[in-house]
Amino acid sequence: MRRVRGRLGPNLNWQIIVPVVSWALLAVGLGLAVCFVVAVVGEGAVIAFGAPAAVVLPLALVGVASGRRLRSMPLRARDGFAAVTVAWIVAAAAGAVPFLLHGTFAQPVDAFFESMSGFTTTGATLLDRIEDEPDAVLLWRSLTQWLGGVGIVVLVVAIAPATGLATQRVFYAETSGITAERLTPRIADTAKIIWGIYLTLTALGFGAYWLAGMTPWDAINHIFTSVATGGFSTRTASIGGFESLPIELVAITFMVAGGINFGFYWTALRGRERLWPQAAEVRAYLLILLGASTVVTASLLLADEGAGVGGSIRASAFSVVTVVTGTGYTTADFDEWPAFTRLTLLGLMFVGGCAGSTAGGMKVIRIMLLGKAAVQEVQRQLQPKAMQVLRVRGRVFSEEVRRGVFAFLAIYLAVFFVGTLVMATFGLDPVTAASSVAATLNVVGPGLGDVGASENFTAVPDGGRWVLSALMLVGRLEIFTVLVLLTPAFWRPNIA
């Protein structure tokens, strides 16, 4: 038996974790460098981006270089979880530095909250007046969301020299979904395809926003946050500030596109006939969006909000899409809507997009499986001897998946409930407490009450900001990756 490595508690292979984290940091550093250029050309914040870039880039390169000899070293599951979680925390910390240096925020917690909200594509902000910030800061907010959209680690896997099993572990620890799916025999190729699709969507969306009437500057900022289903905007009034139907339609299109399983695009492009499981999930996802928009429109019309049929449809569709995909743009202040509508939107936050997309939430496929499994549980009462198979469009899911989705639901709800209680201890009212947790755990952004669509998160006390930052990460990494690190077994040395 090997000697206990006492100093760091868990038996982790830091020689592998450090390079993975360094690659993620390298991506962050390059983003900082881009903003540095913008700052130099534009109106300021040169030091705010130049200094961290100057520190982060060499550090990241050293870390990356340290891993060059270790390519074939095996990475265990625990190392994968640790590497991904650490990479995200380090990226968010590095991303917070410019906010502090420029003076956007005075407190470290605020800068970290904003940065974490960016990387996890939540879109919750502490800024009162966004227009006051220099271009470089605005671009940095958008860029963090774009980098975090399909995942920093997926980017690492795509660009870093392949490290075999190691990359696979971190890939699955970061991407969302219920079963390990890959599009190609080599995981690095899968990551490249995902990023290729992501870049293509970004390019298309940039053109679309531009055509719809945005300036190229606004277009680039908004497509970064639309396709990533992030939600940061260059305006305090968000997309609503443009007061343009074409822009809203483009935003809806690319939020929806970002919430679709990227594997679906790939299989659809290759004309594969077996589009399962993505096709069924995408169809359910679109039906949910359509059905929810109809319900919300109807509720607005019945409540006679005075927006008219066209206006109600427009406001409802946008709000439903932004909430379900976890983007968090706003056009209408849905906090003013009837209680039924507000609660519907709160529930929709938990749905999320498809597995393997940039969206947050529980994911449509899990909801589908939960629904089927629940119906089967009821049927089992009548026919206890019937063999029940969890199946979506002919594709059979194992009993482990059945257990997995129930466990996920239980833990998700537990995290939501405990999170809400914790937020309530900070003195928030119940609606604000619950919706702030729902909005961050599902990486949506705006909630209800004091953190509603027309507000920001400044109503939340400092302690609550730390808690919500953590919830964003937990939600973005789909709970298990982070939760594993909190189990006693993880911290017990000597257990592989």
Binding site: Q383, K385, A386, M387, V389, G394, V396
Partner: protein, 447 residues
């Protein structure tokens, strides 16, 4: 004809026995020395111990000069290899039993055209197809299709409600063009005459065009209820393909009962629209719990004949409408009638059908073996054969058979005695005696 049979199991022995009784030279090969020893004196055939998949061994046996090789060991792989080797050595025709559909699926053209295996037979699958056909034709207990599916030959049971009961067949009301040509009574098949009066419990054989068979059979059986619920007892090699083919039928609910939990889970995963139950019991309580008493059809196709017969008997007594059972071993066949089970299906008979077709050559296109040694075969009237231009009555006399349906130019004719046969006619013929010597002489120009 020189025939090599690889594998002396249930099916191999049956083939060897049938073929040797038809005066063919049979060599039976098995890898089990003890079994070979035991069979030495029992068969009028050469029984040899050896590995049938070995090309060296096959060469020593003289496979190159054999007209037919039947590979029917329990191993699909051995069967395929033996057939391939024999084909390469020069055996005229090869038959391989391949039970796993993973190999060739529904389409055996790859095996035939690319590998040179003339017949790939999957007896369990074929049995499942027969069972499905019987369930989907209300009033029939067995149905077989000939001439690319144009002609149906159905076996149905005369019941209390049947208008045929006690009436001379000649007076029967003709619903659609059809021919009640045969009668199975007390396990013996006989050709009908207009004066025959069917009794309750007799099985009658009817030929008609495919589109006409349903009303005809419904009329004969005196009932026309479509089966709405089918319960399949046993989700094995027969139950699974049967459920798979039935579950797509609109308005038909399929339930499979399987004893083994793992197997039940596996088949549940493969069947989209079927209820799969994990049920260990064969007793009445278990059957009632799953609605066997109200089922339109009950099919017993678990691996064991005894369990099948017991379950089918229970189901019949509980009131299931149509009770079918798979019976693999010949010695259990007499029990089927005695227990009141509607019909028995045998993978062994299906295999024999395929192999007898292979033996009898290219002029025999289809075959349906009945209990009691009778058979229904599909033959073609060759140009220049003795039957060309003769009447049906003359042909029947020559061939000692009964022409039950003619397919001419794609149309189905139910023949009358005075109709004349033309070259190129496809004939569905009922033959009460084994062997086709007379049949060949009548319809085959070369014979």
């Amino acid at each position: 004809m020189r025939v090599i049979v690889i594998g002396a199991g249930e099916v191999g022995q049956h083939i060897a026995r049938t073929l040797s009784s038809e005066r063919h030279d049979v060599t039976l090969v098995d890898a089990d020395a003890a079994r070979v020893e035991a069979l030495q004196g029992e068969l009028d055939a050469l029984v040899v111990n050896g590995n049938g998949a070995s090309p060296k061994f096959l060469r020593e046996l003289g496979a190159g000069g054999a007209q037919l090789l039947c590979a029917v060991t329990h191993s699909d792989e051995v069967n395929v290899i033996a057939a391939l080797a024999a084909h390469q050595l020069g055996t005229e025709r090869t038959v391989a039993r391949v039970r796993d559909a993973e190999y060739f699926g529904d389409d055996d053209s790859f095996a035939r055209d690319e590998l040179g295996i003339d017949f790939v037979i999957n007896p369990e699958r074929a049995t499942a197809e027969d069972l499905a056909a019987a369930i989907l034709l209300p009033g029939a207990v067995h149905v077989e299709y000939f001439a690319d599916g144009k002609v149906a030959v159905a076996e149905s049971i005369v019941t209390e409600r049947s208008p045929l009961r006690g009436q001379p067949l000649g007076n029967r009301r003709i619903v659609k063009p059809s021919f009640v040509f045969g009668l199975i009574r007390d396990g013996r098949a006989i050709a009908t005459e207009p004066g025959h009066r069917p009794k309750v419990g007799d099985h009658v054989l009817t030929a008609a065009a495919r589109e006409d068979i349903e009303p005809v059979v419904a009329h004969i059986a005196g009932r026309a209820n479509r089966v709405r619920d089918v319960i399949i007892f046993g989700g094995g090699r027969i139950g699974l393909p049967l459920a798979r083919s039935l579950q797509t039928t609109p308005g038909l609910r399929v339930t499979v009962m399987e004893r083994d939990a793992d197997r039940a889970r596996r088949i549940a995963e493969q069947l989209n629209d079927t209820t799969v139950l994990h049920e260990e019991g064969v007793g009445k309580e278990a059957l009632v719990a799953h609605g066997v008493d109200r089922a339109g059809a009950f099919v017993a196709c678990a691996g064991d004949d005894r369990a099948n017969l017991l379950a089918a008997l229970h189901a019949k007594q509980l009131g299931a409408d149509l009770c079918l059972s798979v019976v693999s071993r010949e010695e259990f066949m007499p029990l089927v009638d005695a227990l009141g089970i509607d019909a028995a299906f045998s993978p062994r008979l299906v295999t024999a059908e395929a192999i007898l077709r292979a033996v009898r050559g290219p002029n025999v296109h289809g075959m349906y073996l009945l209990s009691g040694g009778a058979e229904v075969v599909e033959v073609q009237a060759d140009r220049g054969c003795r039957a060309e231009g003769r009447t049906v009555a003359q042909a029947n006399t020559h061939a000692l058979t009964h022409v039950t349906a003619i397919v001419r130019g794609g149309r189905v004719l139910i023949p009358k005695d005075a109709d004349r046969l033309e070259a190129g006619d496809r004939l569905v013929v009922f033959n009460t005696r084994q062997g086709l010597a007379a049949l060949d002489k009548t319809f085959d120009a070369a014979a």
